[in-house]
């Protein structure tokens, strides 16, 4: 009976395990392997080059630029989209007038393709006749090319990511808020606690598991999602909006230097793996892995 259960278990698991091995585990190992090899040319096996790809990386200004950009991008999107998500969830969950409409407005960007969103925002930022320019010109501000200026371009794509993600994270907070028994709020009100105090001391701590869950998602997304970069700036101007994965994409599929692209991917994998380890250390395992 026991043996048959084990066989059944493995048989059930087999199809998914095979695909996972082929398209997740094998590529991770392959990335490491390829990062120590040159880019194969003309059907010959790629020669082992040791750390050469990594030496190229250390000297690659675009890599450093992308890494720094990505960190700023993450620092911009993560806290702001989470803070906005909490505020949105509190509003949508309250008895506020028009909250159904608000929920729709906040959540709509989530169901749109990032590429469509990027097109819409590209139009929004267009010099001279985009909506943003029309608005700033009302105040007599001089015209500027928001996406064409290295000083503002990264901020512009960060705003797009916040706009897209806040509503998505709001949903998780909404779910968490709805699981808080209303009696807690009533008790706090009876005791004369202000809404701010109640939020700080009761609601926010209760939202903590959600915040950690959302945080992990936000970190992954900030290294995973570069669709809007492809559409809006192609990493420019002057690499001001190049993010890590976008650099991988350019090196791998514009310059076809797959050996170096593998080395760059290793950095990305390293960041994501540290994030995973961090999650295991910080998050109470009971919350998500029961």
């Amino acid at each position: 009976m026991r043996a048959s259960a084990a066989i059944h278990g493995w048989l059930l698991l087999l199809p998914a395990a095979a695909l996972l091995a082929l398209f997740t585990h094998w590529p991770v190992v392959g990335t490491l392997w390829d990062s120590f090899h040159a880019t194969p040319k003309g059907g010959r096996a790629a020669p082992f080059v040791g750390l050469e790809n990594y030496q190229v990386m250390v000297a690659d200004e675009v890599f450093w630029r992308s890494l720094v950009n990505n960190l700023w991008y993450a620092l911009g999107t993560i806290p702001l989209s989470i803070a906005l998500a909490i505020v949105m969830a509190l509003w949508v969950n309250s008895a506020m007038r028009g909250r159904t409409w608000l929920r729709m407005a906040f959540f709509t960007p989530t169901v749109l393709p990032m590429i469509a969103v990027a097109n819409i925002w590209l139009f929004f930022y267009t010099p001279q006749y985009g909506l943003l320019e029309q608005f700033t010109s009302l105040f007599g501000m001089s015209s500027r090319n928001w996406l064409g200026d290295p000083q503002t371009a990264l901020a512009c794509v960060t705003v797009v990511a916040i706009w897209k993600e806040a509503g998505f994270f709001m949903i998780f907070y909404l779910a968490a808020l709805q699981s808080i028994p209303p009696s807690l709020g009533e008790a706090a009100a009876l005791e004369g606690a202000s809404r701010g105090y109640y939020f700080r001391r009761v609601v926010f701590p209760l939202l903590m598991p959600t915040t950690l869950f959302v945080l992990v998602n936000a970190v992954i997304n900030s290294f995973r999602l570069v669709d809007h970069i492809v559409v809006m700036t192609r990493g420019g101007p002057n690499n001001a909006t190049s993010l890590l994965l976008f650099h991988v994409y350019q090196v791998g599929f514009s310059f076809w230097d797959t050996g170096y692209a593998a080395a760059l991917t290793v950095v990305l994998l390293f960041i994501l793996a540290s994030c995973a380890v961090g999650q295991f250390v910080f998050i109470d395992k009971r919350v998500h892995y029961q």
């Binding site: 493995w10 509003w91 169901v111 267009t126 985009g130 692209a261």
Partner: protein
């Protein structure tokens, strides 16, 4: 309630509405441009006549019908495969004891962190070895064994009372029959949730399909839209926004019609 509290509430409601307005503004602007003649695309006049001309021009300028068909096939294929694979694997993790189960589960969870989206270089190489570059299966394959789906279904199957399982077994049902007759029907809302999340993910996915496809026969709408709007269209925003709205339309309309289900599904998928 005191007067100052009233005023605070009023200000808060105002702030909420302002944020909601800002959130919908880029989309509203795109709608305006898409449904008006190009001369109104940046000028606002209430009397401006509505037109579907931009949609007609966009539809004729690129093989969108084919792109839609490709996306539809992609989404169906991925979801179908995911439902089967994740159900079987989730069932194995929830109700079977076998050696190496914990390690296997850990290896599945790895995909939650390291998604196929970042493994583009190696997966491209694999597809090339398999000889299936530029095909719809090549877009879908890396996503078919979804760690998220396996995890979600495992959690759900674990909540099914053992007694139901035992009762079916006593009647002589095999493991697959039990899965099909007991577990699957009980997990219906979870399937709906997972289905909605999966469909919107794969309809919207862009970078990997962009890399792995290069012909009209396999491109999904997102890639088609990009090829179209970065092509020799100049910058005719009226047509581009029309095309943009067209590609988003199936999900957008679905969302507006079934808002509750959408929101609840995303919630359900997140709580686990």
């Amino acid at each position: 309630m005191t007067r100052s509290e009233d005023i605070a509430r009023l200000i808060e409601t105002g702030a909420a509405w302002l944020l909601g307005f800002l959130w919908i503004l880029p989309l509203a602007y795109a709608f305006w441009t898409a449904f008006h003649a190009p001369e109104y695309s940046t000028r606002f006049a209430l009397a401006a006549p509505l037109t579907l001309e931009n949609f007609r021009r966009a539809w004729e300028a690129a093989p969108f019908a084919r792109y839609f068909l490709n996306s539809f096939m992609l989404v169906t294929m991925v979801l179908g495969a995911q439902l089967v694979l994740c159900t079987l694997a989730g069932y194995a993790f929830a109700r079977f004891e076998f050696r190496g189960k914990d390690i296997a589960f850990f290896l599945v969870l790895v995909q939650l962190m390291i998604m196929p989206d970042v493994l583009i270089v190696e997966n491209y190489r694999t597809m090339s070895h398999l000889g299936i570059l530029d095909s719809i299966p090549a877009i879908g394959l890396p996503y078919m064994a979804s760690a998220f789906g396996i995890f979600l279904l495992r959690q759900t199957f674990k909540t099914v009372p053992r007694e139901l399982d035992e009762a079916a077994r006593v009647e002589g049902a095999g493991p697959l029959e039990i899965l099909w007759k007991v577990y699957v029907p009980l997990a219906r809302p979870v399937y709906l949730a997972f289905g909605l999340v999966s469909v919107s993910y794969h309809w919207n996915n862009f970078l990997w399909p962009l890399i792995v496809t290069n012909s009209v026969n396999s491109r999904p709408v997102t890639v088609g839209l990009q090829v179209f709007s970065s092509g020799d269209q100049g910058i005719d925003w009226s047509v581009i926004t029309a095309a943009t709205l067209m590609t988003s339309a199936p999900l957008l309309i679905g969302f507006l019609l079934f808002q509750r289900q959408f929101v609840q599904s995303f919630m359900r998928a997140g709580i686990k």
